[in-house]
């Protein structure tokens, strides 16, 4: 079965540079989520998009922005990179699954992009 695709898998940047991470959701999935996992940490939710509109916002720094495109892929743009941004960045996707008034989707995660800021 097709999975979530993330590119690049590894990225090395200098401080104050910019980076763009890409995510291609599972076919027919309409929702994309971004997470950041620091070394030895649990994943922290950054932001999500449903049908190309921002849906929920977590602990995403103002230096980061993201969007979802018409083909449902998403990009996470990171500017003025800091040493502390070094982490594994996961994208997850899901398909809207309603159970009454609320969503009950399962989020499927990609392999992640390992960002190293020097």
């Amino acid at each position: 079965a097709a999975g979530v695709i993330q590119s690049p898998r590894h990225l090395i940047k200098e401080k104050r540079e910019t980076a763009t991470l890409k995510c291609y959701p599972i076919p027919r999935h309409d929702t994309v989520y971004w997470y950041q996992q620091g070394p030895g940490q649990d994943p922290q939710f950054l932001i999500s998009f449903y049908e190309k509109m921002q849906s929920d916002k977590g602990s995403i720094p103002d230096r980061f922005s993201a969007q979802q495109f018409s083909d449902y892929h998403s990009e996470l743009n990171m500017s003025s990179l800091e040493l502390g941004d070094s982490a594994l960045y996961f994208c997850a996707s899901s398909r809207l699954e309603r159970g009454g008034p609320v969503r009950r989707d399962t989020q499927y995660f990609g392999p992640g992009t390992r960002l190293t800021v020097l």
């Binding site: 940490q41 609320v102 995660f109």
Partner: protein, 114 residues
């Protein structure tokens, strides 16, 4: 606010023995609970979820989890552990609202000894 606690950083089990990885949660409203497994330098793999219905949820690779509302717990279990089950396990909760992010526990390292 919602939260998840995994009280054990590490669990050691002999191969062939039953295993339990503990998780407790705190949410307002109905809980939507998940277990994921992470192998070194890999993404998170979905194991199982509890939305509603039977308190015993069966998932992938022979894992199951028991939802206990009175104890606000969602412990992961497997009757007979395999060495290949050694990995990092995360419990997560979802508010069930919009496209909300998951809130994860700190993770539990499961080590299966041959």
């Amino acid at each position: 606010a919602q939260s998840v606690a995994q009280p054990e950083d590490q669990v050691n089990v002999a191969e062939g023995n039953p295993l339990t990885v503990k998780c407790t949660y705190s949410v307002s409203g109905n809980p939507y609970l998940f277990w994921y497994v992470q192998y070194p330098n890999r993404g998170l793999q979905f194991l199982l979820k509890y939305i509603t219905g039977d308190n015993l949820v069966k998932g992938s690779y022979g894992f199951e989890a028991e939802f206990n509302k009175s104890q606000t717990s969602f412990h992961l279990k497997k009757p007979s552990a395999l060495v290949s089950d050694s990995a990092l396990y995360f419990c997560a909760v979802h508010s069930g609202g919009g496209a909300d992010g998951l809130t994860f526990g700190k993770g539990t390292h499961l080590i299966i000894q041959p």
